[in-house]
Amino acid sequence: MKIQVKVNGVNYTNEVEPRLLLVHYLRDVLRLTGTHIGCDTSSCGACTIHVNEKATKSCTMLAVQADGCEITTIEGLANNEELHPLQESFRECHGLQCGFCTPGMIMTAADLLQQNHDPSEEEIRYALEGNFCRCTGYHNIVKSVQYAAEKMHTAEPIKTEEAVV
């Protein structure tokens, strides 16, 4: 079947098997290997990407279901050389060790921060419940999300002030 998708701002048209999972399409066809496969059963969240701006586990979706969609993967989150505040904060707060779960964690957290600019610790933990990390014990991951929220929060009013002036 023919599908047309926009991934990280680039349009792709490919002929794919109807049974092909979206995560395999991204990894094997487009060679975007930043999206990982941890469990293949939609439990671990390592394959989380954004489909039309919504955090989605790409191993739970067929490539053909993404036809016509806009997709963002971890490779497309940074704005050229400028890292996303979450990417910065994970580094700053030691939110990763082996890094395997990190792309999924960051993509899920990015969706959370889109909807909730100032989440509580409880809300962060609830949002990340579908993402497993076997290294960090989650403490520094939660700290990273709080740090990024704060940074994005404090960055915003400055922009609006500038706009008013």
């Binding site: 930043g34 999206t35 971890i74 989150l77 580094r91 990763l96 890094g99 395997f100």
Partner: protein
């Protein structure tokens, strides 16, 4: 000027940049020419004859 550049300070990891941008390059991300794959099938029977 301090001679202790790293002592008593939080040091950023050099490997983090590639992990947070999706370029970690784990074993499963590597594709080589004529690459082969292995999978292990373990016996469900203990001390059995093959």
């Amino acid at each position: 000027m301090s001679t202790h550049e790293f002592i008593g300070k939080s040091v950023k990891r050099v490997e983090d940049k590639r992990f947070i941008t999706g370029y970690g390059n784990y074993v499963d991300d590597i594709v080589l020419p004529r690459q082969t794959y292995a999978s292990f099938v373990r016996s469900p029977y203990g001390h059995a004859k093959i």
